[in-house]
Structures are given as C-alpha cells and as structure tokens.
Amino acid sequence: MIRPLCETTAGSLHSFNVAICGRVFEPPMTIADRVTGSTIAGAAEARPAGTRPRTAVPAITLPAIGERELRLDLFRGLALWLIFIDHLPPSLLTWFTIRNYGFSDATEIFIFISGYTAAFVYGRAMLESGVVIATARILRRVWQIYVAHVFLFTIFLAEISYVATRFENPLYTEEMGIMDFLKQPDVTIVQALLLRFRPVNMDVLPLYIVLMLALPLILWSMKWRPDVTLGLSVVLYAVTWEYDLYLSAYPNGFWAFNPFAWQLLFVFGAWCALGGARRMSRILSSRVTMWMAIAYLAASFYVTLTWYVPQLSQFMPKLIEQWMYPIDKTNLDVLRFTHFLALAALTVRFLPRDWPGLKSPWLRPLILCGQHSLEIFCLGVFLAFAGHFILAEVSGGAAMHALISLSGVLIMWGVAWVISWYKRVADKSGAKTKNAVGNADLAGGG
C-alpha cells in the first residue's frame, strides 16, 4: 500500500523532521501508526490515537524506508571531503574547511550522522528481526570497519618506511625519531591490531569501531526509553570529564578521540533518528533558537579569528580566555558540541528536506560520496597519503597542491559513482528478496 507518511507527521513545515519519508511501500498500518510513524511501544499503539494524536508519545518512532534523506548524505559527503582536505598539508583550500570558522569540525558532523544512520538502519533491523540478528549485522559491519582500518595501517607503514630509508636532511634529525617504532615491528604491529597504536589521521575509524560495538546496547536501551538512554549518555559524558575516563594508547598517551566523550554525539544522532528530532521540532523552529545559534556561531567565529590574527586577542577578556581554553577535541569539549548543535539547528532550519537543490546535479558528487562513506573515507585517507607523497617527491607548489586536492575530490566522486553503479547493477540482477531491510552503506562511515 502506498501512503504519504509525511502528511500525517506533526510539525511538518519548519520542523527538524529528518525522518525519512515520502511515498513508500509499507504494510497496512494502524491509525496510531499513521500518526506517529511505525511505533514500537505497545501501549502507544493500543491507544485510540485518532482522537488524541499527540498525547501518546511512543518510545521510539521509526521513519519509513523510502527515499533517502539526501541532507544526511550531502553533509556526510561534505564531511568526507573536508576530512580529506584537512588531512592534506595546509593550502588555500584548507581555508574552506569549517574548522577555521568555529570550534567544531568535520569530525562532529561525521560522528553525528553516523550515529543517526546507524540507528536508523539497525534500529529497524532490531524491530523487524530481533536483537540477536541486529547485533550480528552490527558486528559484521564492525568487522568491515576493522579490516578497513588495518588496510590503512598497512599503507601508513609503507609510507613511513619509505621516508625512513630515503630522507636524511640534517635539519630534521629530531623529527626522524618518529621512525623509532620501526625498530620493534613485533610490538608495534600487534598494538596496531589491538587499536592501541594509531598513527596520525587514523583515529576516526577506531572511534567508530568502539561506538559501533556499543550500538546494540544503545539501540536496545533506546527501544526501551530513548530519553533515558540519551540521559545516560550525557551522564557518561559528564563522568568522563569529572573522573577522567580514557582509553590508553601505545606507546603512551590516550586515544585522540575519547570514545567515552564522543559517544554523546553518536547517541544523540541515534536519538534524533529514532524520533527525537521530530519531538524537538518546536524548539528548532523557534526564532529564539535561531538567534541563539547565530550569536553563538558568530562568537565562536570571532574566537577562531583571534587564533589567526593575534592582534585581535587583546580584545578578548582574560577571564573568558581562562575559562574557555583549552578547547579539548579529545574529550569533545562542550564548546565544540554546542557549536555543532548550533550549526545543525541552522542547517535544518534553512535547508528544508525538500529543498530542490538536493536533486541538482551540482550536489550529486557530494551526495554520492556520502552514500558510500566507509569506502570513501578510507579512499580519502589513502589519497591524503598519496597526495602528500606526490607533494614531497614531485613538487610542493601551490598549483600542484590545488591539483592534488581537486583530483582527490574527483577520484572520490568517481569511485563513489562506480560503487553506486555496481550496486544498482548487482541489485537488479541479484536477489529481489534483499529489499528494504536497509543496507549497511546507509549506516556506514568511519
């Protein structure tokens, strides 16, 4: 039966209605379902929702599978491009990445959207096939991400070994100390497999692996009480800050992204996917929220500006500086989290889901990349290594730099297109049984 799901959901105009809807194929539903989307809490379904549609709040609501939420793909694609550019040595293009304009950067977007899509896909799997099957599917995904991480580590080893044997500039004798770990590959490689030894730029996938490992628990708890789950996540975040929880790394130090803190964004993403976004729609559409977000973004932009134009820092009150610094990325500083929230609030307000631009061919490359995030993320890290190698070996000029950035983005787009094309072909010829259960790509990422 074909039914327009969006028409019946509340707060449809300005709302943060990120739920995926549209005309979709769905089994016949109860009246309660028509109002709130498909629901799980039995109590909510039993209620005569036709008379009091908004009083019954189900535990979680799952949007129907149908058209993809292109905004998610768009911004995840954007985050992938930005991460690629941030991983390259700084250049003109680096000025286009958002970390230069505020506290948060592409990582926040990435983890949030990953939480959102993972909950969306595997939450549905949990409802339809049960906890065990959903957990098994999540673990399979974790394995894929782990393999991808090990693959990237191998490439890193190749690069660092090359530099170690070829490069002996006396200016940099000290920096060559980074090669010391090559003296004990037995320890280093085992530590890398245990995710404890993570070279630069390889921190995101281990974080994602840990978050995905926790996903069955998160979803199971969300199924019971989404708000309580979110509350627990906030508590864990606070406890992390108060009691300094961390995962240690090898040879010393800690994980660059502390999973105990970063889980907040992931769980928040999951919470939004499972109906939280819809319930926040009133807050998000209010003008007060909008102006607060704008004011906060402007203030954080000013602070960022003082990093690049030190003369401005004399206009910064010392007290605020002392309170604010350092803005801790490892533990997802509250300032960063808030900055992300402000960005997200403005985005959903000014970029409605049905914005025609989302269908435009100009944004197609971004959306395609966002739809195959794990593959494209790994490709991006690899391309950053390769690009750096070319810069070092061939020439380091600005033109070369621009060329490398541009071709990197084009390659990411090309590969994303090929993957899409292959999936389409494979789906056509392949099993028709494998339909709308949700595919791993939607939940992918790194």
Binding site: H87, P89, P90, L92, W95, F96, N100, Y101, F156, E159, I160, V163, R166, F167, E168, N169, P170, L171, Y172, T173, E174, E175, M176, G177, I178, D180, P199, V200, N201, A249, P251, N252, G253, F254, A256, W307, Y308, V309, P310, Q311, S313, Q314, E321, Q322, Y325, P326, D328, K329, T330, A384, F385, H388, L391, A392, G396, G397, A398
Partner: protein, 259 residues
C-alpha cells in the same frame, strides 16, 4: 558557501598585506638579512613584553640568554651555525657595542616537556639568565603525549622559569613537511599558544614561520639533501627572526638601537 569564499578572501588579503606593510618600517640593520629570511610582521609581533630584558639593557647589564632545546636546536657538527649562535651574533649587531650578550644552550634530547621541566629548578640555580627561550613540543608530538599533560608540563615549566626570575619566550616545533602526515603537531602548537596566552609570555611561532618560508618557496623543506647547507640557511634565518622577535618584544626603542 559564498560567505566562506568572501571570508577566506578577506583573510588572504590580510595575509598578503602584512608583509607589504612590514617593508616600510623595517629597521636598518648592520648586516642586511638575506631576502629569503623575510617573515611577515604578524609572525614577529607579540603583545606580551619582556620586562627583564628591557631593564637589563636599559641598565647596561649583560644580557644572558639561555636556550633550552632539543636536537632541533642545533645542526649536527655545525653548532656555530645553529639558531642560538646566529641569534647571539645578530643581537650583538643590533644592541649597543657596550652591551654584553651571552647565549648558552641546554640541549635535552629525546626528553618530553615534562621530563625537561623537572630539571628547571636545578638548572636555574646553576645559571641565572635574564631570558630563557624554551623550545619544546617535538618529542611530545613524536611520542603522541597527552596534550593535556603536555600543557600542564609546559605551564609548570614556565612557572618554574619565571619564579627563578627570568623572562620566558616559548618556541614551538619545526615545520617538517615530510613528516607532516606522521607527526600530529597541531595539539601541541595549540597548547603552547594557550600557555603563552595564559602567562602573558611571547610565543615564537617557529612552525608558522618555517611554513611561511616553505609556502613562499624561500626554502625547499622537502629536500632530501644530506648536506648541512639548507639547515645552516634555515637556522640563520631563524636566529635573525628570533633576535628581531626578542628585540621587539622587549620594546627596545630604535634610539637605543643606534647608540
């Protein structure tokens, strides 16, 4: 997106305008620096003063400078061309001939900021410098120390040096493009900037200066050359920039300079 383009253009123009503005007010020095040493003014400007250096020079007392560093403070087998030696030479040129300038170097190779800072109390008992240039961060970045612990180590170190009665200049990492994808410098650069701001002490941004040289093509820092020439030139420019930086931060008047 448009706003971002505009913003980056503005920032860029600012960056381009800075060197132009600098050309006008450059003080005439005894030996003109090589053109390749050009550094934009904003990288040599600090809001934080060096009162003790200024007092020492005003009172005609000797200027004792201690550089605490690591292996990148020197060039293997060419110590006299390293940046501390070059800074000493340039400062002597800039200051009145009567002024005594002595630069000594304390190398603590392969030590983190924490390990280095723990030696400061003893070190400052042995020497009583007017100014300490503390160059740190590289070893911590290589070992991927916890940035928080790094920050508190630097904070403690700076406090120890200040308590011993010295002005302090912090110097951050070298810009090393070859190892850029292997060593994560940013957290350490950020934390050093924070400590400098909190303590109101000048930060000599070696990283940004060297990156500027690399970007502008003044030096090919990617070069795999095994000879010491590149290192000598870079250290010469670093020494000049550091001398200029100390001179400006101490708010020394051009009049004093020409005595």
């Amino acid at each position: 997106m448009k706003a971002k383009v505009l913003l980056s253009l503005i920032l860029l123009c600012g960056g381009l305008a800075a060197p132009a503005a600098r050309a006008g007010d450059a003080a005439p020095a005894a030996s003109p620096p090589p053109a390749s040493c050009e550094v934009p003014a904003y990288l040599l400007t600090s809001e934080s003063p060096l009162p003790k250096v200024a007092d020492a020079i005003r009172a005609g007392k000797p200027l004792e400078i201690l550089v605490i560093g690591s292996r990148s403070t020197t060039i293997p087998a060419s110590e006299n061309s390293s940046y501390p030696a070059r800074m000493e030479a340039i400062l002597k040129e800039k200051l009145p001939p009567s002024e005594v300038v002595r630069v000594s170097v304390e190398i603590q190779s392969k030590k983190t900021a924490e390990e280095t800072a723990s030696t400061f109390v003893k070190l400052m008992e042995a020497k009583t410098p007017t100014l300490v240039v503390w160059q740190t961060g590289t070893v911590d970045a290589i070992r991927a120390s916890d940035p928080d612990e790094f920050r508190s180590a630097v904070t403690e170190g700076v406090a120890a040096l200040q308590n011993a009665g010295a002005d302090v200049v912090l110097m951050n990492l070298q810009y090393s493009p070859r190892t850029e994808t292997m060593i994560s410098a940013q957290p350490f650069l950020d934390n050093m900037r924070v400590v400098a701001q909190e303590h109101g002490i000048p930060l000599f941004d070696r990283f940004a200066i060297m990156r500027q040289w690399s970007d502008q093509g003044q030096f090919d820092l990617f070069s795999p050359s095994r000879g010491p020439d590149l290192a000598k030139q870079v250290h010469d420019c670093l020494g000049r920039a550091l001398a200029q930086f100390v001179f400006d931060a101490a708010r020394l008047e051009p009049a004093q300079q020409q005595n």
